[in-house]
């Protein structure tokens, strides 16, 4: 039976399209952070949409679970198979063609396996940019970015992947191809079906290509760093900038403690300000010529008004890169300092400043010795909330102490109507918390969706959709 399946698969995909070689498969059986390890029957690499459909039909006929993979950069184990060895890894990496760029319309059609940085380059050749970027841009693929509704550093202005996808092509679990690539700005033939696949983590179908919005390259980019006395002042400054009509692309909040860890642990970094305020913000604003002077004027007003205590605007691209390096080294610096439990959370933007302060205080009260802090995308209502181990904790502290701490943090998130996953998704890592903390109506709707589209339960099982079993068995 299994041999029959593998033979049929080999015939459909050819020698380049299928491997069972342990060495070739090894890199794709663990997640990139080394937290999840699995096994697989084989690794399929179809070259096009029709072959993806063949793979899915064969898997359906033989009840073989499918684990789709792009760049394998999931933060929640979303692309790692379980340990049974029954699953087929479906790599989309060979589908790496930018099918078309229409510069006038500002649209690119990219296959699922196109790497984000390659799309950036292709757009730049047309004087345009794809306005979504993140740390893993050299590995993450368009298919994975769509399937996980990726965020990144420009969400404030351009939204997550969901708002940049103008069209989508996908293979559904029954092997049919849903072709919604045409970028229609208006289309009222029922609900927007492509929205079902965006953020579904491969549990409802396989995204094979997407039509993506491109935007003009900005004439000028102003990168600034300011010192503040509270997250509330940071939010007021952001509102002021937006109210004045600035195109604020990034607004990243950094507490003094995180900055201190970066300066202590990351070679070559230096303090961006002469003073030592308790809070910092890295701000990036795009605009036409003269935007720098306008930003300087607002910051100088903010200084006079006491909204900021200090500020610097990058004098060069290198200077701006140094600011960004600080922001992007926080996780690394925290790891160097000692164990920590990390949370990628969202609450309504207006509630964020209070939440950051009160949740940190509550966690520190409930778990004596730990220190808690948040940094990140304040303007998106999304911060990374880290709880650091008490001094002298064992290296595996996070594994042992992590669960109750995370449960405590997530309970607070739910109490203010927030999300336990702002941008990383659910995958296998947050499945238990998701099941425990989700409104039953929402959970049931998700299970209904799963049962309707994937009645065999072969699409990325064990990810995102909690305890489908009972649901799927129902008539």
């Amino acid at each position: 039976m299994r041999e029959e399946f593998l033979n049929a698969l080999a015939a459909a995909l050819g020698p380049k399209g299928l491997t069972r070689d342990p060495e070739a498969m090894a890199p794709w059986l663990s997640d990139w952070r080394g937290r999840y390890h699995g096994a697989a029957l084989a690794l399929a690499s179809p070259p096009g949409t029709a072959e993806v459909a063949s793979v899915i039909r064969l898997c359906a006929a033989h009840r073989v679970p499918i684990v789709p993979q792009g760049g394998n950069t999931s933060m929640v184990g979303g692309a790692t198979p379980d340990s049974s060895g029954n699953a087929l890894i479906l790599s989309l990496r060979r589908m790496n063609r930018v099918r078309n760029i229409d510069a006038e319309a500002g649209l690119a059609v990219a296959e699922a396996g196109v790497i984000l940085s390659e799309l950036h380059d292709a757009a730049r050749e047309h004087g345009l940019r794809f306005p979504l970027s993140l740390g893993a841009k050299g590995s993450a693929t368009i298919g994975g970015l769509c399937a996980t509704n990726a965020g990144g550093t420009q969400v404030l202005r351009f939204g997550t992947m969901r708002s940049l996808v103008a069209g989508l092509e996908a293979v559904l679990p029954d092997g049919s191809v849903l072709d919604s690539l045409a970028a229609l700005k208006k289309d009222n033939r029922g609900p927007d079906l492509k929205q079902l696949l965006i953020g579904a983590e491969g549990t409802l179908g396989i995204i094979t290509a997407a039509t993506l919005q491109l935007v003009p390259l900005p004439e000028e980019v102003v990168t600034g760093w300011v010192g503040l006395s509270s997250p509330h002042d940071a939010l007021s400054l952001l509102r002021r900038l937006e109210g004045e009509g600035f195109a604020v692309e990034s607004f990243e909040l950094v507490p003094a403690h995180s900055l201190g860890l970066v300066l202590a642990h990351v070679p070559g970094t230096r303090a961006p300000l002469q003073t030592a305020p308790p809070w910092h913000a890295l701000i990036e604003i795009a605009g036409g010529h003269g935007v720098r002077e306008s930003v300087e004027a607002v910051l100088s007003w903010a200084l006079d008004a006491g909204l900021i205590s200090d500020g610097a605007i990058a004098e060069s691209e290198m200077h701006a890169a140094a600011f960004w390096r600080i922001r992007e080294s926080i996780s690394e610096a925290e790891r160097a300092e000692g164990p920590a439990v990390q949370h990628d959370i969202a609450v309504p933007v207006a509630a964020m400043p209070d939440f950051m302060l009160s949740a940190a205080a509550e966690v520190e009260r409930a778990f004596p010795g730990v220190s808690a802090g948040a940094f990140g995308h304040l303007g998106d209502g999304n911060v990374h909330f880290h709880v650091r181990a008490p001094a002298g904790a064992a290296p595996d502290w996070a594994t042992t102490a992590g669960k109750p701490i995370s449960a405590f943090v997530y309970d607070r998130i739910v109490a203010v109507g927030g999300s336990i996953s702002a941008e990383h998704g659910i995958g296998q890592m947050k499945l238990d918390a998701f099941a425990r903390l989700t409104d039953p109506a929402r959970l049931k709707a998700l299970a209904s969706l799963k049962a309707a589209f994937d009645p065999l339960g072969i699409m990325n099982p064990g990810k995102l959709v909690p305890s489908l079993a009972s649901e799927a068995a129902a008539p």
Copy 2:
């Protein structure tokens, strides 16, 4: 059985919440254009979300079909019950509270029955606006606007309802309440379930409230009218304006023939230009102080470059209103001239100029004597494509000749990857065309969705979802 149902309903809703009085029900049994007429068991008007849930549970228990209604302004018979008299009309009009406006966050929470113009007023009191408007704003309700993913005249800049809904509350067909009102900018707990209900025309659940994006009032609005020699030049002008960073809110294309009909049939209108170019565009641009001068500079460049042949900028709000009156009177003027078959269609924006010209020529060739023309939202890739009767046609010409003409037009739309419904939806009017012209994969996905969420088939049956019967009966 039926009496038992009605008694239970009366008990749940109280005397204000249920009527069977023929006179009270009459206005809600026909669509506003008088094209569809139905009958109903009763009219339920629940005051809140809990009561909507009770109604749905009772209807599910007694297998009573539900036809949800807001302002009853559907263009496709989407809110009119069938003639059986078995259905319950579920009016959301009593749920008319703006629950909250958070001016700083730019968010309003409005119940389903809030009338669009009332939301406009409420936002303006906070110095903000809700940037979606359309002709029926004095009747259309938030619930209906969400359920039909309404468009209107500002889609170019702000998108359709889908992109303005930050949160949603809905009652699903099993009576459970999906509460997604919290406006989280990032939330990666699976696919965005609220997207399922937006544009589903009440076939998957009942929207009871929405959290909506508000934006600042613009400092200045520039309304202009230009003369052009082709739709291609119109698109080039639009691209130029957007490329220069203008906030173009409306770009409405009007052929000379449509303008002529308005001037002939609508009292008090006068030609906006001294010259008589073959094509016209009404343009509205928002901005800060000085935007008028910048727009004038671009138009004067366009005149020199031969992209436009003439142009005028409104000198006052009254002058701007006169421009808009022309645009909004086209349908009325066409009706006064004689019968016509109307189509609300979309194609990718870049394909629109060619489509407008070639489809009109093809229709005129295929149906001798008719004249065809398109006007409307060029920048959205959405125009209203009207085919006017030959001279001397009978008043009911559209009824008799309409079907083959529409089929011909829709076939051309599908051939270029367009949509047979850009903004009006499917309802009952376009159900046959939708079934005939939809990609089977898409149709099956929609049917699966319907079967999963509404297995009893009680939610607005006969609208949007073609031939569900066989699907619903499957296990």
